[in-house]
Symmetry: C2
Subunit: 145 residues, 2 copies
């Protein structure tokens, strides 16, 4: 099973912000330190702001920071939010998909239970437990730039 790259990026952003919740970081700063394209990150930041996970502040001294205490944010909640547009298989889409087995399928409810177990496992951990300092770029990577 796969999570979308944007979900992965979203969790990375939150992990970085959780390191020093009172300190604002810029999207371009995070993009640079995580070596993720700025445009991708900017979209994820917008989405995280819409979900109430981060606040953005323009101007000097501005940037993005967590909108809630990191100890109140569960990983499962974040993944559930960021993945909401991605159906586990087609019959989970809002349009129901086109699978002809759907009316009698017993796999769907099992998959729903498995998805619930996946998220419940992630709900055991708060963002504060995954807070991460700025990554060190290894000499090899820095030299290659």
């Amino acid at each position: 099973m796969r999570l979308a790259a944007f979900t992965d990026y979203g969790v990375r952003i939150l992990m970085r912000l959780a390191d020093k919740p009172d300190q604002a970081l810029t999207t371009s700063g995070i993009a640079s330190e995580l070596q993720i394209p700025y445009n991708h990150l900017a979209k994820v930041v917008q989405n995280l702001a819409r979900g109430g996970y981060i606040r953005t502040q323009r101007g000097v001294g501005g940037g993005i920071r967590l909108a809630r205490a990191p100890q109140s944010i569960m990983l499962g909640e974040v993944v559930r939010f960021l993945e909401q547009r991605h159906a586990v298989v087609e019959c989970f889409r809002s349009d129901g998909g086109g699978c002809l087995l759907t009316p009698n399928c017993r796999f769907k409810s099992k998959l729903a239970a498995a998805q619930k177990a996946f998220l419940a496992e992630l709900d055991k951990t708060t963002l504060v437990e995954c807070a991460l300092p700025r990554p060190r770029v290894s000499r090899a990577v820095a030299k290659a730039k």
Copy 2:
């Protein structure tokens, strides 16, 4: 989170074969009744044969059938096999991916636990519980053909 379309197709094929394990079905027959492109299905059939889930027999009266009793095949096992080439996020790839947070990341182990919980949930159900008869094509779909 998403499963690959080929995983979804693989489970559908096995669910159909589990309905009458002693009866061989043809790939083209399943493709037609499930309305899935033959070429896609043929690849999945090859993979399922490689995994020891189905046997294929050429010639008159040939086709594909389950290679094991459906009550001995757990859904989690099937999904684990069909998804083995898909990393949940990039750091789960065999090359380790390029995420700079990897050395200190605490999200990875939580994701691994969540993935395990997902599959453990699916391992509670056998294929025989999900066996499905040939789907009925509704009149609307039949007419549109």
